[in-house]
Amino acid sequence: MKLTRSFNRSLWAFHFNSGSCNGCEIEIVAAITPRYDPERFGIKLVGTPRHADVLVITGPVVKKMKDRLLRVYAQMPEPKVVMCVGTCGISGGVFYDSYNLEGPVDEVIPVDVYVPGCPPRPEAIIHGVVKALEKLERIQGGGR
């Protein structure tokens, strides 16, 4: 898959909640407010995984959500990047020993960028997107 520069100037993100406490959601919404205005860089939230380039996942993966997460991941057209927002998705966070946890996100699908914090600040989320862009640029450089 040959990536061009236009890819990282137009990232469409799909937000998926795999069992989050909604704290991360609030911060994601804060990150798309006019104050931070990610549309400057062509980033926007879309309503369906089919339109998405970035899958933004919040929360640990609970048992019921595992299949759905796999399915949404498969529904996204290539090339795609996965971003995991919040400590929960990275390690399980406060829910690490919960009885209905399938595990952190990267035990279910491959994750490209981690954004730690409980919940992470909007600045951190935007920084995560920048990291995702850098990763895409590396892919562009080296081919896939």
Binding site: M1, K2, L3, T4, S6, F7, R9, S10, P34, D37, E39, R40, F41, G42, V46, G47, T48, R50, H51, D53, Q75, P77, E78, P79
Partner: protein, 339 residues
């Protein structure tokens, strides 16, 4: 019979119009996003953002779902784009007479306008997703709703021109040559303003923008009609959205504000053409700003059942009052002879 050079001219102008429609359409989408961003005190994306989006969509994978009817699913975006470009061939651009202007009139344009919407409906049903099916049903309902007020506008304007004794009142050429404002008296001008209002409300519905974007509602229907589209097919719908924006603005310009710079101030030949084109672009942006960007920032989405009553009851009534005023204007000799 059409002479072969004439056919060649039409083909040539069709190519030009296609390029022009796509470029200006995407440019309009960019301007719309920039204006909306400024209204929300944001910096907003660069104006060439839609071009970047388009290039990105073209390198994405094109997924055809297993339970979709593949040939309709793939055909719908192509036909949607092609048919919206065809409409442009019937509309005057600045002072340039439309390439197919002699072969079709405003009624034909009205019918052609339904084709992109029908393609989206077909594509939505063919994609085999419940969200898309609900979206397609809503699109049909919206289409039925706005068609009636739009027809009133078209018929009222053409009728008034006919009452003033103008030849071929339905052709866009003669509508553009005789603006309704110069034909009608004071009563008629009030009627014309009402019709302008109706046209301004029909435009966002035709373009499925807020407040009439129930069929694509991202928050309830996850993208509605377009839920299963990705990559190349989505890019084609994106393009046809841009071209349709240009088409709707150009119709409003041709019917309600058809003046050209060259008819107001005298300009040398070559300059006049360019000036007219720029002036036309300015008018198109103005129309789009007032009836798309401003409304979409200021309003929330209507419920689907409200959409129908907005169009059939309120706008239908406003349109009929406008029509009656135009008729009264033609019937009262004192007001009617001002032309």
């Amino acid at each position: 019979m059409i002479a072969s050079w004439e056919l060649a001219m039409i083909v040539f102008s069709a190519v030009i119009v296609t390029i022009y429609g796509i470029v200006v359409g995407l440019f309009l989408l960019g301007v719309d996003r920039k204006l909306a961003a400024h209204m929300q005190a944001r910096v907003g994306p660069p104006i060439r953002q839609p071009f970047i989006d388009l290039r990105k969509l073209l390198i994405k994978e094109n997924v055809v779902p297993d339970n979709a009817i593949a040939w309709i699913f793939n055909l719908a975006p192509v036909v949607a784009l092609a048919s919206s470009i065809v409409i442009l061939l019937y509309l005057p651009i600045g002072s340039i007479y439309p390439p197919l202007g002699a072969y079709g009139d405003l009624i034909l344009v009205m019918y052609l306008l339904t084709i992109p919407a029908l393609c989206m409906v077909a594509g939505g049903f063919a994609s085999g997703s419940p969200y898309a099916s609900v979206g397609a049903q809503r699109e049909m309902v919206t289409m039925i709703a706005y068609e009636f007020p739009l027809a009133i506008v078209v018929v009222a304007v053409a009728w008034r021109l006919a009452a003033a004794g103008i030849q071929d009142p339905f052709t866009l050429g003669s509508i553009a040559a005789h603006p309704i404002w110069s034909v009608a008296g004071p009563l008629g001008i009030v009627g014309g303003l009402l019709l302008l209002l109706v046209m301004a409300v029909v435009t966002p519905a035709e373009l499925s923008r807020i407040p009439f974007d129930t069929q694509e509602a991202e928050t309830e229907l996850a993208g509605g009609l377009l839920v299963e589209y990705s990559g190349k097919n989505l890019a084609m719908f994106y393009l046809s959205q841009g071209v349709k924006t240009l088409v709707m603005a150009a119709i409003a310009v041709a019917v309600f504000i058809p003046w050209n710079l060259s008819s107001i101030v005298t300009l040398p030949e070559g300059v006049a053409l360019v000036a007219d084109l720029l002036f036309f672009l300015g008018k198109v942006i103005l129309v789009m700003f007032l009836s798309v960007s401003l409304v979409r920032v200021a309003m929330a989405r209507f419920q689907i059942n409200r959409v129908v009553s907005v169009f059939w009851i309120y706008l239908g009534l406003i349109g009929l009052v406008g029509l009656l005023l135009l008729m009264a204007d033609a019937a009262l000799p004192a007001a009617g002879v001002l032309a």
